[in-house]
Amino acid sequence: MSDDPTIERDEDFAAAEYVLGVLSAKDRRAAEQRLARDPAFANEVAFWEERLAGVAAGVTPAPAPERAWTRIEAALARGAQRQASRGVWDSLAFWRGFALAASALAAACLAGLIYVGSAVSPSPLLARLDAEGGKAGFVAAVNTGDGSLTVVPAALLAPAAQQAFELWLIPPGDKPHSLGLIDPARPVTIRVPKDLLKQVAREAVLAVSVEPPGGSPTGAPTGPVIANGKLASL
């Protein structure tokens, strides 16, 4: 590659080349992995970062539009909200962990938690919403005391871009009623509308359908049902 005897092995230059920015995506990942476990390499990267940063002095500053800060603030606010509400209820790993281990047990735990969480609650209801192949897609539990319904993803289901997941209540012999959109990535608690609360009972079916963003435009499911299950009491 070169007639210069001092230029020997690629790795001797990896730190400088990483900082300089000439590496391919693959070589950058390799450099970053080395950065994490090789202190000498990290020192070398720090050396070049400090010394070469001055090259950027030749770049003309450009004031960022005001909306840039607004977007950052909004993202921070969302993050803070997530942080504040993060408890065992919002820990997907927790839910997924036990939901996958044993869905029946999971549902019992979920209902138990709801029961414990609201001592005055009458018997909680729960449903395991099976996806194709009989695997649990979601686990749902209803606190009939306050009409809250918690839906927890139990499998990695992701809507395609431009699609959303909508939850439906189908009382025996009735048509589906929308309970709103749910999140395939984290537990969602829905307040069941008062006029539907009575129908959230044993034998009613909960189903999840694939819909356009924002939900079904017709008020009835329009896309395929990807998971469903019957409500039962604990």
Binding site: V19, E50, A53, A56, E73
Partner: protein
């Protein structure tokens, strides 16, 4: 306020960000976003992508401020490294998108024209300029183009119209000389 005091103030603001102080993040943003936005536009050649990455950069600052070690790096060096790394990763991941940068590589080599930049140590920059000046013109131009535009060896070689091996050799020899000069 002199440059050193402003740098200390910036480092102190980053330390406060580490403690979850949002007002401090705004201070950091106000002091540095124009510089970083300029760097991002330069690498990405696209203002709206640069805006996306700018958001990422300050969210990273928010999350990783506790990793900033004022004893080890100057605050601006740290911020520039975050911005460049994000931008270069974005550039590499959009391999299909190979827009020509706004300006040609040759035009980058204009260190004297830059205004006094309090964000970086005058002394260190002076040293760097001195060392870059000791390189051959094609070497220092390649180093500047690589750093400022975040281009791969392949693209740099294509732009300069030389074989890949030649470009690697230019830059690696330049790095050897720079290292010797910077640590002298």
């Amino acid at each position: 306020m002199d440059a050193e005091a402003r740098r200390r103030e910036l480092a102190a603001a980053i330390a406060r960000v580490a403690g979850g102080d949002r007002a401090a993040l705004k201070l950091v943003y106000d002091a540095t976003s124009a510089k970083l936005f300029g760097i991002l536009i330069r690498i990405l050649s696209d203002r709206s992508e640069a805006e996306d990455v700018l958001q990422d950069v300050y969210l990273t600052v928010w999350q990783k401020a506790d990793a900033f070690d004022a004893a080890r790096a100057s605050p601006m060096t740290w911020l520039i490294a975050i911005a460049r790394n994000r931008a270069i990763d974005r550039l590499r991941s959009s391999a299909a998108r190979r827009a020509e940068p706004i300006e040609a590589a040759g035009e980058v080599a204009d260190p004297g024209a830059s205004a006094v930049d309090w964000l970086q140590s005058e002394q260190e920059r002076g040293r760097l300029e001195l060392c870059l000046a000791e390189l051959e013109a094609h070497q220092s131009a390649a180093i500047r183009a690589a750093f400022i535009d975040g281009l791969t060896y392949e693209t740099l070689a294509a732009r300069a119209g030389v074989p890949l091996g030649t470009m690697k050799s230019w830059i690696r020899r330049a790095l050897i000389k720079l290292r010797a000069c910077l640590t002298r």
